[in-house]
């Protein structure tokens, strides 16, 4: 950030002007500045940070949510032990979240990058292509789950109609995760493409031209010149993909509330609160696991952002 308060001139002008250039804020102004920060600060503290801390605290207790907090029976790490040992959906959920992450990386993220590289060139109809790829980005994943029912339905879906099969794509636990991932990829690709298109635009054209003059072919130019320069974007895409995979919830909840082959950690947390059983301590422990994983990537993200900020 530019040091904003350095005085550009020493000329002492009109008498009306305050004597010192580094004028302190007046009482009223100081109050206004305070309020401008305090109101949003309190809102975020109240609805994000305090609940985050409360989740950590609750994860060490047993509580069905009835009565006051004095009804909590403190059990130490028992919830965590139970999750790892006697809670059947947990490990499948972890596995599904990991598959989610790897899949998003290998297919839609790479495809998005590729599309961005191709569409960054002068090409007839480039705008039309771009528009069709990022059209799904404006749709919610819940709605996307709904729309893809038209392909996946066992009796009325297009896929079974064309292939003459009888697969219940959303219901069969052997295939439903992949069906959901394809639908998710439909949206994710356009998003990644958009981020990379912006990143490529910020790469100085002269850099590429210089590489071309030096005799580097396009392949080499991209991997040895353009891609390394886009490092901040690459990292941001990485963080976004990880966080999206961890947060994945909407589409599986709309299909079957995250059961039967579609277990995800985020869905398990919700099942423990608004499902049949309210197990607050247990659900909180699951929530804390999510929080710990995401905090690693949030830290990475903040470091990139702040490094750029200082530069």
């Amino acid at each position: 950030m530019a040091s904003a308060q350095t005085a550009p001139t020493t000329a002492d002008t009109a008498a009306a002007a305050p004597p010192s250039r580094r004028r302190r804020l007046g009482g009223r102004d100081r109050l206004v500045v305070f309020a401008m920060v305090a109101v949003p600060f309190i809102l975020v503290l109240w609805l994000v940070w305090l609940p985050a801390l409360a989740s950590v605290a609750l994860s060490f207790g047993k509580w069905n949510g009835i009565g006051s907090t004095s009804n909590i029976e403190w059990v130490g790490f028992q919830n965590y032990r139970d999750i790892a040992t006697i809670y059947p959906p947990f490990w499948p959920a972890v596995q599904h979240n990991l598959i989610w992450l790897v899949f998003l990386f290998i297919l839609p993220t790479m495809l998005g990058l590729l599309l961005a590289v191709v569409l960054d060139r002068e090409m007839k109809g480039s705008r039309f292509y771009q528009t069709s790829f990022y059209l799904p980005v404006v749709l919610s994943l819940a709605l996307i789950g709904f729309i893809w029912q038209l392909f996946y339905s066992r009796d009325q879906g297009l896929i079974n109609d064309v292939l003459g099969t009888q697969v219940d794509w959303y219901g069969d636990p052997d295939v439903n995760l992949w069906a959901v991932l394809v639908a998710t990829a439909w949206r994710h690709t356009g998003y990644v493409m958009l981020l990379y298109l912006a990143g490529l635009k910020s790469v100085d054209a002269s850099l590429r031209e210089a590489a071309a003059v030096d005799g580097a072919n396009e392949w080499k130019t991209f991997f040895q010149v353009v891609f390394p320069v886009m490092r901040p974007i690459n990292l941001i895409v990485l963080v976004i993909v990880v966080i999206e995979s961890l947060r994945a919830f909407d589409i599986v909840w709309v299909i079957n509330k995250g059961r039967n082959g579609l277990e995800l950690i985020a869905a398990l947390v919700s099942q423990n609160v608004i499902g049949e059983a309210t197990r607050y301590g247990f659900g909180s422990a699951l929530a804390v696991i999510m929080m710990v994983i995401s905090s690693v990537f949030i830290t990475i993200y903040l470091r990139i952002v702040f490094k750029e900020d200082r530069a």
Binding site: V37, L43, A198, V229
Partner: protein, 310 residues
């Protein structure tokens, strides 16, 4: 971003003189250009297909498609729309979305612009920490906060003119506040970057004229950041309209659900009739698709403002 490498400057001028029309990515050779065009055309049609398929089938009669299969042609009707609208009580759900989205977007932009202004205008020692406080909150998985927020909202009474449940839980207000709190980080970040590009001399002369901090914010900065506000408003309308998780968990009274979460309740009624699903989906998608086609530039620039600066 440190994109410019110092070594490239001299040669770049030469090549630019040779090929002045060259765009950032360069032009492709003919045969390769043709292959790329074909691949792109096929891919983009593939990408549009789900939307086209939904729109086409939303206009087809269920009995006709049942008898002739979906690969047939014919059976055109508007009935799916009237039926979906009535059976799904879309009118009510759309209104709920409106009641939640509009205030949430206004609050978010107002509060975010105030923090951003302070961050850009003054250089306090805590500036960076403050930005981190908002930005990290934006990235936390919402499920991680679900239990305390849920339980807390169950305890907070609201007067009945604000919420007929008498509680924060099951009220528009709870949802508006949660959405606002979650979107603040991103908007603050984008706006403060944008505001930092405003030359500081403007504030100095305003100060000499005796303008208070509030007037500097409201009459000087806000009009200047209108493009960023427009881009963010477009993006936030889409995001909050699409928000699914908080509405699903904080509102159990179906009559108050916004449309995106209301989808979940339509599922059971609709899933036996794919054409009805199609009509319902098109209806839900319509507002964001309109936003997308009318304000595409704002939408895209809003998204990319966050990843590359300004």
């Amino acid at each position: 971003m440190s994109a410019e490498a110092p070594t490239a400057t001299t040669t770049a001028d030469e090549t630019r003189a040779v090929a002045p029309q060259q765009m950032s990515g360069g032009v492709m050779g003919k045969p390769r250009g043709r292959t790329a065009t074909v691949i792109m055309l096929v891919l983009s049609l593939l990408w549009l297909f789900p939307v086209i398929w939904a729109v086409v089938n939303s206009f087809r009669d269920y009995n006709y498609t049942q008898a002739n299969g979906y690969l047939s042609f014919g059976g055109w009707t508007m009935d799916n729309y009237t039926e979906a609208w009535e059976r799904g009580s879309f009118g009510k759900y759309f209104l709920n979305s409106l009641y939640i989205t509009v205030p949430a977007v206004v609050f978010t932009l107002l509060l975010a612009s105030m923090v951003a202004f302070v961050l850009a205008r003054f250089s306090f020692k805590f500036n960076l920490a403050l930005l981190g406080f908002f930005l990290a909150a934006n990235l936390l998985p919402p499920q991680a906060l679900l239990i305390p927020v849920f339980r807390m909202f169950r305890e907070i009474p609201l007067p009945t003119f604000m919420s007929d449940s008498g509680l924060m839980l099951n009220s528009y207000w709870g949802l508006i506040l949660v959405n606002t709190a979650f979107q603040l980080g991103f908007c603050t970040f984008v706006l403060s970057n944008y505001m930092k590009t405003i030359p500081h001399e403007i504030y100095e002369s305003a100060e000499l004229d005796g303008a208070s901090v509030w007037r500097q914010y409201w009459q000087l900065t806000m009009p200047l950041v209108r493009p960023a506000l427009a881009a963010l408003a477009t993006l936030e309308v889409t995001w909050i309209y699409n928000e699914f998780f908080w509405a699903t968990v904080l509102i159990s009274d179906f009559s108050k659900l916004p449309i995106t979460s209301g989808l979940n309740n339509l599922r059971g009624q609709f899933f036996t009739d794919t054409n009805l699903v199609a009509a319902g989906s098109v209806l839900v998608a319509l507002p964001v698709l309109i936003v997308f086609f009318v304000l595409q530039k704002q939408f895209v620039s809003g998204l990319t403002l966050g990843s590359t600066k300004g």
